[in-house]
Amino acid sequence: MKTNDVMLQTATKVVIFIILLFAVHIFFTGHYTPGGGFVGGLLTASAIVLLMLAFDLDTVKKILPLNYVAMVAVGLLIALGTAGASIVFDVPFFTHAYDYFDLPLFGKTSLHSAALFDLGVYLVVVGVTMTIIQTIGEDE
């Protein structure tokens, strides 16, 4: 019998935006509320897995032509660079700096260098999860 995935695909098209927005939100609010890089990465990976369930592996590869192994490398480099930038300022390793800036759109916001470290964690988590799932899924 021909399978008919219209309901799953239509629901996926609506729901995936909610999941991705929630992942970005939980990534940026990790400093004051529960959340952070790890949970945001897992949520993003789950959104991509939902796309893979509703459509094909090849379709998702055509939509998101990302090299996930390179993504892990970039995430590790960002995290190490954030930790290693403390050498330049003559402070102990992994010392984070924060300051208040007047951005044109947001007004007075506090920017913290731990967010960059979190971005590295986020990229590593997404890359590792998607690499595992793709290698398992492509075994035929």
Partner: protein
């Protein structure tokens, strides 16, 4: 208001559990689970949202997003579970009167 919505949610969740025990068939059970469990969880979430809004003076948009999300995804999951059960050839209950998809099922069992 808060008490009413949370009580309705809890009552519908209890009805869901009873339906899972008492109904005879996979399809009737998925019917009970997808419908009344969704309404129960939505009632509980609206109750918590109203509680935080009226008593704690704190507007929590995540609860609204969760309500919309469950309202979209839960019926789809119920439909997919029932469909997968039908495709794998689960037997229907004894009280079944009509089975309109029987023709398709016969075609899959012995294709000509």
């Amino acid at each position: 208001m808060i008490i009413i919505s949370i009580s309705v949610g809890v009552i519908f969740s209890v009805v869901t559990a009873l339906g899972l025990i008492r109904l005879p068939d996979v399809y009737t059970r998925t019917h009970a689970a997808s419908k009344s469990a969704t309404l129960g969880v939505l009632g509980i979430l609206t109750g918590t949202f109203l509680h935080f809004l009226l008593i704690e003076d704190h507007f929590n948009p995540q609860l609204i997003i969760a309500i919309a999300f469950l309202f979209i995804t839960s019926p789809v999951s119920g439909h997919l579970i029932g469909r997968a059960a039908y495709m794998s050839g689960t037997e229907l209950a004894k009280e079944t009167v009509r089975d309109d998809m029987k023709i398709l099922r016969k075609k899959t069992e012995d294709p000509k």
